[in-house]
Amino acid sequence: MAAAGVRATRRRSGLSDAQFALTIVGAVILFNVVVIILPLIYSIWISLHETNVILRREEFVGGEHFAKLLADPAVLNAIGLSLKFTAVSVVLSLVIGLAIALVLNESFPGRAVLRALVLLPWAVSEVVTATMWIFIVNPTFGGLNGILAPLGIVSPSFDWLSERAAIYWVAVAFVWHIAPLGAFFFLAALQTVPADLYRAARIDRAGAIQRFFHITLPHIKYVVLIVLVVVTVEAFRGFDLVFAFTRGGPGTSTQIFPLLIYRYTFEFSQYGLAAAASYLLIGIALILTTAYFIVLTYRRKEVRTIRAVAVTMAPATAAAEAPA
């Protein structure tokens, strides 16, 4: 119906194929300009100005906000926490995601059901995930203490979310949410490894671990790279889960960079500073992802195109969601 309708419209309007293509592509470009490009440019403008909300006045300050941010210990602390949160999340989700995928790639009864179930945590929203983890780690009514305290492993009302440990718990909750996505990618990649390669390797006397490092890993290398980039960007600009879980606390022990930007915007109304901080965040994410590509694709020609695509995509998605 839709296709026929399109064809009928085109016949009536008498557009050539090229005109038709330009029309529909143009509409999408226009939409993106309005929704992404213009706010992006506007946020650059904001970052270079000091906005006084009460007097409704804007004053050009140039790079002052950036200088101020880089000198602020609260900002450096938030960046440090973000890097820690990202590092823990990336490492754990890669290892766990790959482990899940390797298990699900084997054949066993109930595999199809399990494959569907494993993806569920990713489908659960981050706020719900956070709420669930609050129920798990809460000292008084939390499930973890409920299990461990009667066994004498921890004291009753043991506080899991101490200032030192909280950032790791937040990362664990985030891994619970994001690792299934990695597993999903890895599983798809694992299924493209030709079975004969494993058979050949067994004949060549390679053990299971050697088969993993000589066949599986080289084969799924680029998917690992993609998961690495996705999880890094997701973790580094992640806001919902941490906000819902701890609001940055206790103290500022989980106040990762996006949370700080949020506070600049909505608590302190420091729009210029917030916009500048958003660009700082994008910059760091960009450096990280570019570093992955350079390290993992060193002296490889085939992935040039992927690299270009990912580098252009990373700031766009980060900017779109960073509060400005």
């Binding site: 058979r199 390797a201 004949i203 053990g207 066949i215 080289p218």
Partner: protein, 370 residues
Amino acid sequence: MSTVTIDDVVKSYGDVIAVDSLTLAIENKEFVVLLGPSGCGKTTILNMVAGLDVPTSGHIRFDGESVEHLPPERRDIAMVFQSIALYPHKNVYNNIAFPLRMARVPRSEIDSRVRSAAALLRIENLLDRRPHQLSGGQRQRAALGRAVVRNPAVFLFDEPLSALDAKLRVDMRLEIKKLHERLGATFVYVTHDQVEALTMADRIAVLDNGRLQQYGTPDEIYQRPANMVVAGFVGSPSMNFVPGRLDGSDGGWRFASEGLEVPLPAGMREHLPGGAGSEVVLGIRPEGAGLDGAAGGTGWVYATEPVGSDLFVDVSFGQPDALEPRLFKIRTRPDLRLRSGQPVAVTLPPEHLFFFEPAGRRIWPRDGGA
């Protein structure tokens, strides 16, 4: 050195029996081809010999020792796959070196062995290329190199040439045969191509439906097929089969079928199990029958298929306008001029005749005799 014995092996997957009570003895340094149509169980047998699959029952013995429960790495074997299965992320050198590295061979020895294997297969100049940069034939050579470098007692081949184009297949056929001569190892080779089997094998095991049909030299398989399955599968084009009856009503013994009567060869009568009227199937290879274009005949030319060196003529018996004509393929001289519908006489020399029971077993020629 190694003999391979497959002893009463059964392999079933649920209700499906892939290999049914197979017994096969492969001598040391012998080149044995497992031949059969797809789905006949030949690859399953090879996988069990390799250790990639475990028999449901029965034994596989290397030099008399049961190995059916040993994993591949504990058998002295190398295998070449239909998909070639070179490691795509490694160059040719590292592909060939891989089994040696896994066996923890010293580095200096690895290098000399890889280079001599590469020299044997004439791929020294390709060692730093990766599989996707090689042609089909070069890949096949590299895969052979990876097998040869191990210096195993038994080489297993799973249809290694079926991915290659026709000309290359002929070249590689010869190469594998020479490789066998040079290495003096036991070769077990699976194929569905009867020409490959006939040209390379010391002995051929013909399989169908998971059962061994016949095990013998290429000559025996071709000259004395055990049954209609073997007779129909080996030889190209296939043997002609004509179902009919034995007729001895007026003294002389004849084979009679619709539109075709053949006097029986001398000495045959006393070896036939049934008397007059019993059903038999006459078989004759296209190259065994002859054609007399001049004489008024028993059949009609249905179609001709010139192949350059020969002319294959499809002769139809019975009604000329039958919807499904009974065809008989005959190889003749390429200079014979025939047109469709022309009546021809088919000559069936007694020394080239085969007779089978309707169930398939060969009853003529007798084993041993002429």
